[in-house]
């Protein structure tokens, strides 16, 4: 199928999934142009310096996806379809309804082969293996990859926010938009915010703002075991608050929707997620504080955003930097975990003497 037809088919299928609204023909075309120039749209050798170059899809692509973040599964499949690869998807045992809906809406020739078990020939025959999941999952698959295969591991990550300023309704709304989608379980979900200035006042203002917001649909039905862990965690922090100067906790009333914890110690602490927001003062040496997690930082949300602070975020190890409030909305063109999204799925063939 030609590239234009594949794009049209993707746009039609994306219309069935509410959060794929960005996927228009124009946006996809712009994305391809940005990453691969004319390589995909014009399947002839393209001038490349004094030589020529042409791309071919690495195919088949095996996508091993996890159930917690359907976004990642669909993004990976869409990239594979765009470059023209054959796609195989190993789904989690419980399946992913969004993937089923999207795939059903694709023309037959673009549909991936899907299974909840790894089919025997997949690992051997795939030219690219993409894995989304825990570090353990990534480790297990990495041991089975052949040196000739391209292996793209999207393991667990930490995201955070850095704020210079006071908490106003806009920032509070931005933090809510960053924290609450996917019940804070995504790799783009911030686990804590470092604040310059009066961090305690910031935490109070933030909790006041969250309290004013209407009950949200943010808290999906959590099982009782998860709720138990969250409650035990909050009670533990109430105890800490009672005995530790500067620590305090504000929480949603009568439910586990959200909690804001102010901790004056910049040291990183456990966060059970599910609507748990840590506000901490900016450490004197942020780089040192974040050093243990440097290689695993995904997104840093900034307020305000300017070149100086962007440079600061890059030095801390961020793979993506954006404005507070946009952490969950990477553009179509983003380099997931720092790699070219489409370029990782093609083989560049250099042609000399043409």
């Amino acid at each position: 199928m030609r590239l234009d037809d594949r794009i049209v088919a993707l746009v039609a299928a994306a219309a069935k999934v509410s959060w794929l609204v960005d996927l228009s023909f124009e946006n996809i075309s712009r994305w391809i142009e940005l990453e691969l120039g004319q390589y995909l749209s014009d399947p002839k050798p393209q001038p490349y310096g004094n030589q020529h170059c042409q791309t071919y899809p690495l195919s088949p692509i095996l996508h091993i996806v996890s159930g917690n973040t359907p976004h990642a599964a669909l993004q990976s499949l869409i990239r594979g379809v765009i470059v023209g690869a054959t796609n195989w998807i190993k789904l989690p045992h419980q399946g992913i309804p969004e993937v089923d809906i999207f795939v059903d809406a694709l023309p037959k020739e673009l549909r991936p082969e899907m299974a909840t078990e790894l089919l025997p020939h997949w690992m051997e025959k795939a030219e690219v293996i993409v894995v989304f999941g825990s570090d353990q999952t990534v480790r297990e698959f990495s041991q089975r990859v052949l040196p000739s295969q391209r292996f793209l591991a999207h393991g667990e990550k930490v995201s955070l926010g850095l704020i210079w300023g006071q908490c106003d309704p806009q920032i509070a709304e931005g933090i809510a938009r960053d924290v609450f989608p996917f019940d804070q379980l995504g790799c783009l979900s911030p686990q804590f915010f470092f604040v310059v200035g009066d961090s305690a006042d910031f935490a109070l203002q933030l909790s006041d703002q969250l309290e004013k917001q209407p009950p949200r649909t943010l808290a999906p039905a959590r099982d009782r075991a998860t709720a138990g862990v969250l409650r035990a965690f909050r009670e533990e922090w109430k105890f800490r608050a009672a005995i530790t100067p500067g620590v305090f906790l504000r929480e949603s009333r009568g439910n586990l929707d959200w909690v804001v914890i102010h901790d004056p110690e910049p040291v990183l602490v456990t966060n059970p997620l599910h609507g748990t927001i840590f506000i901490k003062p900016m450490p004197p040496d942020v780089e040192l504080t974040l050093a243990p997690i440097r290689r695993l930082i995904s997104t840093i949300g900034l307020f305000p955003i300017n070149r100086e602070l962007v440079h600061f975020g890059i030095c801390l190890g961020a793979q993506r930097i954006c404005r507070i409030g946009q952490m969950q909305n990477p553009p179509l063109t983003w380099h997931h975990d720092g790699w070219p999204a489409l370029g990782s799925f093609v083989r560049f063939v250099d042609i000399e003497g043409l």
Partner: protein
Amino acid sequence: MKYSGNSAIELEILGFLSEPAEERFESLALSIYNYQRRANPVYAQYCEYLGTPKQVDSWKRIPAVPQIAFKRSDIRSFPVQETQTEFRTSGTTGEGHGKHHFPSIRLYEAAVQRGWDYFRLPRHRSILLMQHPEDAPFSSLSRMGAILAGSEPERFVISQDGGLDFSRLREQLSDRHEAVTLFGTALAYLNLFEKAPDFDLALNPASMVMETGGFKGSGRDVAKSDLYEKLSLRLGVAADSIWNEYGMTELSSQFYSRGVGRSHQAPPWVRFQIIDPETNQEASPGKVGLLRIIDLANLWSVLAVLTQDLAIAQPDGGFLLLGRDPQALPRGCSRAVDELMHFARG
């Protein structure tokens, strides 16, 4: 400084343990709360933070300290210099040890003994799958074993290095005509079965088996029904003769359940509530929630403890223990910072 003993409130609690009277529970609980709020500055700070008045009108309104607080602070309702005994949690969660301090273990001993008798548990000769208290001075379980069985070393069949002392076990099991009580952690039983697959462990059928402790921190998870089937098969006792003791370092009293699928019951000086994790209020009957325990024998720390275990209240007055779900909090692709820190520390 040594504990002088005979405090009026301690004597009152000891009296209650000897002759429990339901109608006195509440007033005694409130007296203990008042005492602890005065004597325990950390608890007083906690109550103040929660906004709990100095006088409350029901045992249900006594603030419960989260179990993990014993790891975070010194929860002590007596002067530090009077400390005689310290029990520690196993530290298997990697967050350090929880500590429970005592100026005297007289109340603790009484709670263990009276609890055992309250449930009419047999006073057979005991064989303890645990270390001797001298080898494990901070283990409340070893101390409990010694309180029940005496501290003769031959009763304890786990050696100082944590291994099973097979010759001692063989010796202890030599008289199969005598009913005994075999008491150990679930993990100790599994280790025993695995390390000695051919060892004849058959007990006299009138014997009792007591298991406790679960598999926390071992990376293992065996269903209770499977465990009891194994115990029954290898030890030659009916499943009904297998009991579970549910206790914790942070408390002084124990709950017991018999066989599989039955509720845990408290002695009269212990009550519990099931807390709805969403609302932090008492859960409606039949709902799963966190177990909150009020133990009148816990005079020297705090009498009310919010555990991290899930349970369901039962119509028979007990609770069905669900424990902790090791799979709780699936994290998606967000990485736990504490794991990273642990990794970074190597």
